[in-house]
Amino acid sequence: MAIAFTVNGEAKRVEASETATLLDVLRNHLGLMGTRYGCGLEQCGSCMVLVDGQPAYACTREVGTVADRKVTTIEGLGTPAKPHPLQRAFLDEQAGQCGYCLSGIVMSAKALLDRNPTPSRGDIVAALDRHLCRCGAHQRILRAVERAAQAMSNGGPA
């Protein structure tokens, strides 16, 4: 059936089963490959996107439940040429190794900064604790989110 929702500010209409996962639809119907499959079990966070601004596991979220909602993926934040302050901060801190976990983490960080522009280190840890990183870039990632918060509170776009 046809399901209509907004992705990264653009109205989309996809032909898919209501029970198809949002991850499948994003990657295979809309070609948005920045949202990644890690486990399919809501255990690793590699697939995290925002649905109406709230973090959601795309690997299990049925696409029927996002009808008429706003979905944001990493592609909706910025590009290498024009990065979002969070992406800029992750690059400035070189916060990552393999990078597979990063798009999901950045989305959770975006949701955090949207609701709390001046988070403490503890707030950031709590917001990211459902994400796994196997390469051990955690401390850099935490610093990057702090740096982004700083940059955004100094007048950058939210």
């Binding site: 490959m33 499959y37 399919g40 934040l77 070189q94 870039a137």
Partner: protein
Amino acid sequence: MNARPLPASLVDNPRLDRWIHFQPDRTVRIATGKVEMGQGVVTAIGQIAAEELDLPLDRVVVLSGDTTNGPDELYTTSSLSVEVSGSSVRLVCAEVRAKALERAALRLNCSRDDLTVVDGQFMQNGAATGQNYWTVAGEIDLTQAATGTAPVKPASAYRVVGSSVPRLDLPAKLSGAAFVHDVLPKDVLHARTLRQPNRGATLASLDEAAIRRAAKGELQIVREANFVAFVSPIESVVQAAAAAAPAHAKWDNARRLEPAQQEAAWLKGQPSDDRRIGTWPAPATPPKRPAQITVSRPYIAHASMSPSCALAEFRDGHLTVRSHGQGMHPLRKNLAPVLGLRVEAITAQHLHGAGCYGHNGADDAALDAALVAMRIPNRWIRLQWRREEEFGFEPVGPAMLVTLHVDLDECGRPADWTTEIWSPTHVQRPGSGSGYLLASEALPNPPTEIAPFDPSEERGGGGTRNAVPLYDVPAHRILHHLVMHPPVRTSALRGLGALPNVFAIESLIDDLAARAGEDPVAYRLSILSEPRARRLVELVAERAGWASRGPSGAGRGLGLAVARYKNRAAYAAVVAAVTVQETVKVDRVWCVADAGLVVNPDGARNQLEGGIVQAVSWTLKEQVKLDAGGIASRDWESYPILRFSEVPEMQVEFVDGAGNPTLGVGECTVGPTAAAIGNAVNHALGVRICDMPLTRERIMAALLKT
């Protein structure tokens, strides 16, 4: 000028054009056989090339892992990429630079010495000559073999090497498609497998109709003996088929495992290939002041964030494979005999995957994809493993048991030292170890089993890696029991045997210091004459405020450990601060490392940090559990790893390279970190826990004993 000894990679790939190619868009393509796995090697290689050629970094394009245009440098392993590939690229670029200047001098009718290179432009007396690499490139014979005779830049002149250039691969990874998983060629077919549970298991029946019902879509089932793959243009269809398949498959000859086999203790007494290493001096009989320790580490998983994935296409008799494996030349050599193709009929290209810490499922997924591609030619096949398949079928890091027996002199220093190690093999890489690409065991004529073996001592050993203590020990011997029939497939995982061996050595050293009534740092320095290691111990102790270390048994602990990876790569000294209340929390880690010339300091620090975090995770939390059918830890709940809330603060630094050559850093922190934690827990509790992981149950048991 005398030729310097050439790095192994340059001996194997002498032609300059295997390494360097001037492109019409005024860039230079540098090829390396080593691949990017998130460790920053592509950036570091690019820096070395830019430096030697006097080019801005953005004129250098690094091609990594390509069988058509790049050198064969075997696998990306053993912390050797910058040491071996980097030094090859340095010599090649120096030689090509010299040749280019020679050509330009001829054109300009001047002496080569009159010319300098600024941003790729050739200058004479500070003025542009109109000549540059690209104007003379056509006149340089790059088919020649490298001689290694061209002068290389002195380190004092470096401007790109030694600077923390941002990683070239990171921007794409932060904004969208970046991995092999993200490539969808036109008309691609998705594929998943049903795995043979173990070598020798045979598929008695497969209810294909039931699987098709579950798949709910166009589905092709590829079967060849005990290899099964599900193929469809729609990814969710193959996902559903693969999820349903195990329940509809009956296997004969599936093995049954016992839970005890998951423990390192099981290794002792199993059939083993025993080797004596070292000179085996006659021991003092009977020992005058004996001391001993036994430590263990269980099987551990790579647990990469992405399941393995590969693309393959068979067209006009030629197979193209795109993989995130650690070596593309080895991959095609390993694929060829299984597929019945000539090596030249296969092209293998590296694309990014999630972090790779050793021999994981990447190569196996490449064979899976290739097998499907051969059966369904002229279409790209994208085969991805399932999460439970990744955990259940990737090779695991071997369990190990290490016992040290020492005899002390009258001052309480080790005078005689015997190491006894029980371990399955650490390398079952197809082609270079005693293993095979996984699916080849499911095909009609599985390869005959080879008795397992470990990497040679010259290559750093496997179970024996770092078994030789760095300390001054007059008599030392190693007895290595290579356990022949482990319950699971084992292979290389970051550090190989270094972690258990350094854990054993550094735990014993702390115990011996306590027995002598001395501070562990002072005791270490009294038997450590290696100047680079001494310096690190002193520095890290200072950074961590070791002098004000509190009393033992107070629930908080500070522990130190030091090692030189493989006793020939980078040195690292680590102090861990822990709090122990039922569980161990590593609060802070200080690390000082000596890697000689560091090409990219921030990138290398990232490697030190990553090794520390992974070692904390292994030491505190990780064990691959088994059930009757095989590996039972098949998701992140049954195989928990360190989380954001558990990661320590870290302070890592390199000492000045002091003119020493580059030493590989990727694995140097894992052993010292594990051992520093063990020593810190011992300090916090007043009792030593010798078996990893240091879980709540083990802590409670240890506390009950006190």
